[in-house]
C-alpha cells in the first residue's frame, strides 16, 4: 500500500495544488480528497483489467 499512497500524493499534489500558498485552501482540500478517491478507483480498475488480461 505504500507505493499506492506515494503515487496518490505525487499525482494529486501535482493536480490539486498548482501554486502552493501559506495553507491548503478549502478548494485544494476538496480536490485532494476527490483525487485520492478517484485514483484508488482507477488503480482498482486498472488492476482488475490487467489481471484479467494476463490470465
Amino acid at each position: 500500500a505504500r507505493i499506492l499512497i506515494e503515487n496518490i500524493n505525487e499525482k494529486c499534489f501535482e493536480r490539486c495544488v498548482p501554486k502552493p500558498g501559506s495553507s491548503l485552501s478549502s478548494s485544494e482540500q476538496t480536490c485532494l480528497t476527490q483525487c485520492m478517491e478517484k485514483y484508488m478507483q482507477a488503480w482498482n480498475q486498472v488492476n482488475a483489467t490487467y489481471i484479467r488480461r494476463i490470465q
Binding site: 476527490q34 482507477a42 488503480w43
Partner: protein, 63 residues
C-alpha cells in the same frame, strides 16, 4: 517475486493511464463512464502494443 512484478506493473499502468484518461479538472470522487471506459481500453491497448513489440522483435531476430 512474480507477484511483486505484477504489482509494480499495475502501479505503472495506473500512472500511465491516469495521465491519458483523467485529463479534465477533478470535480468528483467518482470515475465517470468515459473515464472508466478509457482506463479499461488503456490497459488492453497497452498489453496489445506490448505483445506486438515482443512479436516484432522475435521476427527481427529470426531474419
Amino acid at each position: 517475486e512474480h507477484r511483486s512484478r505484477i504489482q509494480s506493473q499495475s502501479h505503472e499502468l495506473t500512472a500511465i493511464c491516469w495521465k491519458k484518461c483523467i485529463t479534465s479538472t477533478i470535480k468528483s470522487g467518482q470515475l465517470d463512464k468515459n473515464e472508466q471506459t478509457c482506463l479499461s481500453n488503456c490497459v488492453d491497448r497497452f498489453m496489445d502494443a506490448n505483445l506486438a513489440t515482443i512479436k516484432h522483435l522475435r521476427n527481427m531476430r529470426q531474419q
